[in-house]
Amino acid sequence: MRSSASNGFCAYLRRDLRLSHRRLGEAASPLIFFIMVSTLVPLGITPDPASLALVASGIIWVLALLATMLSANDLFAGDYQDGSLEQLLISPQVLVMPVLGKVTAHWLVTGLPLTIVSPLLGLMLSLPEAGYLPMMASLALGTACLSLLGAVGAALTVSLQKGGMMLALVVMPLYMPVIIFGGATVQFGIDGLAWTGPLAILGAMLAAAIALCPLAIAGVLRLTSIN
């Protein structure tokens, strides 16, 4: 049983990674979105570095949230349309592991690249130097949280034709604690406070999400994907 469970995790992780590798353009779009929208901010507010520095951490976090949410819709949609999801539901394995594998793949394709390019955005938005490390640490943990929560929303809306907007409505309130502590981690870093505090809370949220979300997703997929 155990070997088959970890098998399910690895198999789905590998397959989803391979799928995004084949369609690199599509897989990279959240990242490009993230970078492109951030250039709109100075255009819309002001190019003044001092003013930008004030809002940089918040903007980077909001953009990361939006990019993750926009891509979360595709998490189960493809599998639902081509029948793979139905095959997964009737396969003799614990549903939680494949689900976790898929979410991990989603994070590796969206959250991790976002974290890696975030210093670039920090530079463009003149984020104070002390903010870089907390920003990357909080984005790494926080986007994983967002992927898990987004997957719950994606599972809830998978059988709807216009799932994208509905997904946003459903998960946005659930995202708020993540953005509060994510933004605070960066702000603490900038202000020279102990930023590991809010980061630890973010980690605790991630731990809880890893434990609970796959269960919820598996249950929801069984309930609503069959129409």
């Binding site: 397959r15 391979r18 084949r22 081509d82 029948g83 095959q87 396969s91 003799p92």
Partner: protein, 213 residues
């Protein structure tokens, strides 16, 4: 009393939003059987197959697998079935070989993927992405799962869609081989099968049921 049937359905009823979609009784399946589910569009053929594969849950009634309710032996039962539905579960960005390999590693069984594809007439097409294949060829990729699986019970929902005449004959031979080695097939199709000993199971839509009662 001999061995219990491989599959036996007792008083199955399924409703959607309080309107009965199907109710069926007296359906059994033994090793070596080919059961053809027939009926007009909307009579619930797909629903029946999805109930049998546990993708849907019935409101009333039970499905027995070797005499045990499938709720009790879900894992064993699911390891012993293979379902190919309207949607083929073929990933278009992957090659035929990768698709089959993936399906095998997700617990369907294992033997050489390429050999299976070649024997279904896909020689030379195994290493190009599936979106370059025709609809019939994509269907064949999905059907190649039949050859690599060791499941005893096959559930095939309209397997002949988009398949040419040769393909139909090939598939019929697959089914014959499968049942002669102790398997069983439930197939929903409007086509007449060129096979010996096919049993027919007529599905009546709910509207027809009401007209008769």
């Amino acid at each position: 009393m001999g061995n219990p049937s491989l599959i036996k359905i007792e008083n199955l009823r399924f409703e959607r939003d309080d309107t009965a979609v199907i109710s069926c009784d007296n359906l059994y399946l033994d090793a070596g059987d080919i059961l053809q589910v027939e009926g007009p569009n909307g009579s619930g053929k797909t629903t029946l197959l999805r109930l049998l594969t546990t993708a849907l849950q019935a409101r009333e009634g039970t499905i027995l697998y070797c005499g045990k309710s499938i709720a009790e032996c879900r894992f064993e039962y699911l390891s012993d079935i293979l379902f190919i539905g309207h949607q083929s579960a073929v990933k278009l960005t992957l090659t035929a070989e990768e698709n089959l390999d993936w399906m095998a590693s997700s617990g369907i069984g294992s033997s050489s993927a390429v050999k299976a594809l070649e024997s279904l007439g896909l020689a030379g097409y195994t290493d190009i992405p599936c979106y370059k294949l025709s609809a019939g060829q994509q269907r064949r990729v999905a059907l190649a799962r039949l050859l690599i699986s060791d499941a005893r019970i096959w559930y095939l929902d309209e397997p002949f869609t988009a398949i040419d005449r040769d393909g139909v004959r090939l598939l019929e031979r697959c089914m014959k081989d499968h049942v002669s080695s102790g398997g069983a097939v439930v197939v929903s199709t409007h086509q007449d099968l060129d096979l010996q000993g096919v049993r027919h199971y007529p599905m009546l839509g709910e509207s027809l049921l009401r007209a008769y009662s």
